[in-house]
Amino acid sequence: MTPFDNAQGRPRDFPVIFDFSVPGRVGSSYPNPDVPDTPLEQLIPASQLRKEPAALPEVSELDVVRHYTRLSHRNFSIDEGFYPLGSCTMKYNPKIHEDAARLAGFARLHPYAPAEGAQGALRLICELEELLAEISGMDRVTFQPAAGAHGELTGLLMIRAYFETRGERRTKVIVPDSAHGTNPATAAMVGYQVVTVKSDARGNMDVRALREAMDGSVAAIMLTNPNTLGLFEEPILDVEEIVHRAGGQLYLDGANFNAVLGVTRPGDQGFDVMHMNLHKTFTTPHGGGGPGAGAVGVKAHLAPFLPVPVIERDGERFRLDDQRPQSIGKIRAFYGNFGNLVRAYAYIRSMGADGLRQVAETAVLNANYLLARLRSRFDLPYDRLCKHEFVLSGARQKRQHGVATRDMAKRILDYGFHAPTIYFPLIVEEAIMIEPTETESKRTLDEFADAMLAIAREAQDDPEVVKTAPHSTPVKRLDEVRAARQPDLRWKPR
């Protein structure tokens, strides 16, 4: 095992696949063809051919399997331990979903199969739409968006199209200061000017400020409920009235839908559009960047603008409808990440209506239990009954002991947990955002609480051990500043 010390000074035990390369080694060898061979130059125009062969690693199948399996052991996942990232709903994905998604009729279906040959898959999408419409209180649902942020884009494009057909020119979108960064980014991408409205002392949207900001130039407000402080927006009905009276649309960022499943329906609160992160609330795989699924639900007045194709039910037959002249068009190939739709369907069917309500209730109970155990040792800027998550502040530790939230987040790794979300939402100084989810036992919650309390004690008695953490991980504290200022993004041959 020598080739791992390379010129770039990469640690010995972190080789890249190229370090295993041996000239001429191949992963598989094929017999000579028994049909005449056609030279590449005759098949592909010269302008499209490489002048030099690509510098690919030359490795065997076993090299590849071992390398990536070893790397995967460095990963941390919810299947290994507690993963309390807030605003992310890192909840356990039941393994029965994998059975369902691997059924050959789903997994091996060709995306170009004609509708007559894909009735089972279309039926699943159609029934999932009906289920999510019922759960959310919306009229129609599209599954094309590949993630929550993509769902936001789809939702705002529909809102823009809606106002265009009405001949109304609206230029602004209101976003609260507690919002996830994807909200203002989405509004800006769709061409709107972003107007930020501050939160009030209880962590709600400030209704007075909203009233001042709201007028006929505002297309929509993007609200998260429960919001990113983990708090239910108490003035939601006032917000609804203010926005609708001025002719605006109400967009719900449904990232936190887990907290209210089966308890309240966004459609009944007056939302016109919402996205649901199936990879959060509905237990489809999450992390590693996807593939996710950001279903978008709309009220009937926005349905004409849904992306095509829409799946329509004719009795027991299902067809793809492309003939929708007002549609915003296609926003993703085919029908979105279909395998994830199978998983979400399996989840809803196995939980049932009562089960989903229990999910929300237990998620809220778990969060409040953890909050109760931690509140004496950390600052709590918004002190209310929380929903599925809560936001502490490490300001006390920073001020008194010079220990930042980042240090405590690194230290929690030494205790065998994934760190919570930190420094978000932006309105909380030294924010620590914790979302335990419903699947964790009291024992796990207690272990995590004990670890957090131990770290708070360490911050006081032995701050150095926290400031230099982590100590037990394969790599120690990474130089995030240098990584951001001088990113080294690609491997180069020696």
Binding site: G181, R406, L426, E429, E480, V481, A484, R485
Partner: protein, 128 residues
């Protein structure tokens, strides 16, 4: 920490009057809150900026924040050093870490900004 000869905005920009022009940067308070700045995005010279509207973006390892124009006017100079050395925003926020120089439309707009004693109260570093 907070020079007396500057004016301050509620979004933590400072303004220094230099003849008929003003130099703009972010305060020590903002730089500390952001932690290590890794990237600054600024408008080009000639761009128009509007009072309390975003004119650029500052990114740290912790957060990405808009920069708000403390005055309306035209950008006449942009700090070229920030492209390669954004860290000067942390090490020298009132000196080498300046961001833009603006030719104001109306210098009287300065009166909408805070003097130092008011700013330190606003950020909780002095008693009201």
């Amino acid at each position: 920490m907070y020079p007396k000869d500057l004016r301050y905005s509620s979004e933590h920009e400072w303004v220094r009057v230099e003849g008929g022009r003003v130099r703009v940067g972010i305060t020590r308070f903002a730089a500390d809150r952001l932690t290590d700045v890794v990237f600054v995005e600024l408008p080009a010279a000639g761009a128009k900026v509007t009072f309390m509207q975003p004119f650029g973006v500052v990114e740290s390892v912790k957060a990405v924040s808009d920069l708000y124009a403390p005055l309306s006017g035209t950008v006449v100079e942009v700090n070229p050093a920030l492209v390669d050395s954004p860290e000067v925003v942390n090490s020298d926020p009132y000196g080498k870490g300046w961001m833009i120089v603006v030719q104001p439309d109306d210098l009287r707009e300065l009166e909408r900004l805070m003097p130092v004693d008011q700013y330190v109260v606003a950020i909780g570093e002095a008693a009201p």
